[in-house]
């Protein structure tokens, strides 16, 4: 089981999952926050925060999931009132009309929450709504292996250092 850790997000990836945890480079005065992508298919290098450029590549047995952090000003708002990441989803939580980009046959789910004083949304896409009974357990397997630190790590892995 591969381990992925950066920016205060820690993931033990179930088999067949790959992932990426990154902070998008800033443009002008914007402030960017950590984003984590997880997928059971090869993730392209350039993927939108919520999967544009990736969800179109999904097969019927594939899963794509996003963990997206918002700014600290969102903490305490009603949208992020839920405390803690959902750890177990049901098949009824996935609906085709919850997709951010409607693609025939797929279905999705989205949850807003606060954990460790950090506001997040979790968004997941199933390659086939018809196969959700078989796919949702894999999403739950991923959720049960995600953890969030109160603060992003002080020194991100990969920071250039003198040898």
């Amino acid at each position: 089981m591969a381990t992925l850790q950066a920016h205060g997000i820690h993931a033990q990836l179930p088999n067949s999952f790959e992932g990426r945890i990154f902070v998008r480079p800033r443009v002008a005065d914007e402030i960017t926050y950590p984003v984590a992508h997880f997928a059971t298919f090869p993730l392209p290098n350039q993927v939108g925060d919520f999967g544009s450029g990736a969800v179109t590549l999904m097969g019927p047995s594939d899963i794509f999931a996003v963990l997206f952090e918002y700014g600290p000003e969102s903490v305490g708002t009603r949208l992020f009132a839920r405390q803690g990441m959902p750890r177990s989803l049901g098949i009824d939580d996935f609906r085709p009309n919850l997709l951010r980009r409607g693609i025939g046959g797929q279905s999705g789910t989205q949850w807003f929450f606060t954990e460790s004083e950090r506001p997040f949304t979790f968004y997941a896409v199933l390659g086939s709504h018809a196969r959700r009974a078989a796919l949702v357990p894999h999403v739950n397997g991923l959720l049960s292996n995600l953890s969030l630190s109160p603060q992003p790590l002080a020194a991100a892995p990969g920071t250039v250092a003198w040898n």
């Binding site: 591969a2 992925l4 088999n15 067949s16 250092a161 040898n163």
Partner: protein
């Protein structure tokens, strides 16, 4: 005369004492060297009986240990074992063909994990370093991935050692923005990489390595990948061609007795039993019979017929 005899006697006695002292000193030096591990044999031990060599060897070892314990207790020389390791063993569930997920960081510090198993495509993993001269040509070739000459559907991933052993800025300067680069020292251990450059080809559907090696130019790597792809189509490796497998042992990554048993099973299923003449070819014609043509009919009006591709006994059996 009497005086001369007395003087000679005294000189002889002095020389005797001197020689005895030198011999004693030499014996002490040899003993000390032996305790340090130099030399062969132990002068304080009884000679080895060749007939009972194994037993006496064990006794000698035990006596030496006991002697060392006594010396240590008396403040004498301490002999301590020298730690010797052969490298960290692979986890029990892995073997020399398994293809675990590659997890590490990108040169920009993001975390990245790439799953090379559990999918239906081939992944070419290039283990490179930023400093090796041979790798420079590959970094340059990867600037234009579309001109690499790789067959369609091959995923290319570059793996360098982790940021504790590579300078991330150097790697970033060499990597193209469209190139997936993972910095992971663990991956080098997982894939038993002897040095850079080194290439590994993974069949995602079978979840195992199907080729690995070194090359000086990427054209050589591309040719090896192309051949591997042809082999996969010919032997139906993995689940890509359901029902098309000619060798379940090869497809399943079996080895040793399990592979032999699976092959025997396939031969029996094809009606080839022990002693079958086809198992003992005696001529070139037995291996490549000229009366079998596996190529499709050549189109009319296309000139002379091409040379026939001959089938192998395995193809006939399958």
């Amino acid at each position: 005369m009497v005086a001369l005899v007395i003087i000679l006697t005294v000189v002889v006695l002095l020389l005797t004492v001197l020689v005895a002292g030198l011999l004693r000193s030499h014996a002490d030096i040899l003993k000390a060297l032996h305790d340090l591990g130099a030399g062969v044999g132990d002068p304080s031990q009884e000679p080895i009986n060749l007939e009972t060599h194994n037993h006496s060897h064990d006794q000698e070892r035990n006596q030496r240990r006991a002697r060392n314990r006594d010396r240590n207790a008396n403040g004498g020389p301490i002999s301590s074992p020298i730690p010797f390791t052969m490298g960290s063993p692979l986890p029990g569930e892995r073997n020399s063909t398994s293809a675990p997920t590659i997890a590490g960081v990108t040169p920009t510090g993001d975390a990245l994990a790439i799953a090379v198993s559990g999918n239906d495509h081939l992944t070419l993993i290039a283990f490179l370093s930023s400093g090796c001269a041979t790798c420079a040509g590959f970094w340059e070739a990867f600037q234009a991935p579309e001109h690499l000459g790789l067959p369609d559907g091959i995923r290319l991933v570059v793996v360098t050692k982790g940021p504790e052993m590579e300078i991330a800025g150097e790697v970033q300067a060499k990597a193209h923005s469209r190139l997936q680069v993972v910095m992971s020292t663990d991956a080098w251990g997982d894939y038993e990489v002897p040095g850079s450059p080194f290439f590994v080809l993974v069949d995602g559907s079978a979840g195992r390595r199907i080729g690995e090696g070194v090359a000086n130019h990427f054209s050589q790597v591309a040719e090896l990948v192309r051949r591997a792809q042809v082999d996969m189509q010919a032997f139906g490796v993995g689940t890509r061609r359901e029902g098309g497998s000619r060798s379940r042992a090869f497809a399943g990554g079996l080895d040793g007795p399990a592979r032999e048993s699976a092959n025997d099973q396939e031969l029996r299923a094809a009606g080839i039993l022990p002693g079958d003449p086809s198992l003992y070819p005696s001529s070139f014609e037995d291996v490549f019979p000229s009366d079998i043509d596996v190529l499709p009919p050549y189109p009319e009006g296309a000139g002379t017929n091409p040379p026939a591709q001959r089938s192998t006994p395995e193809r006939r059996a399958g």
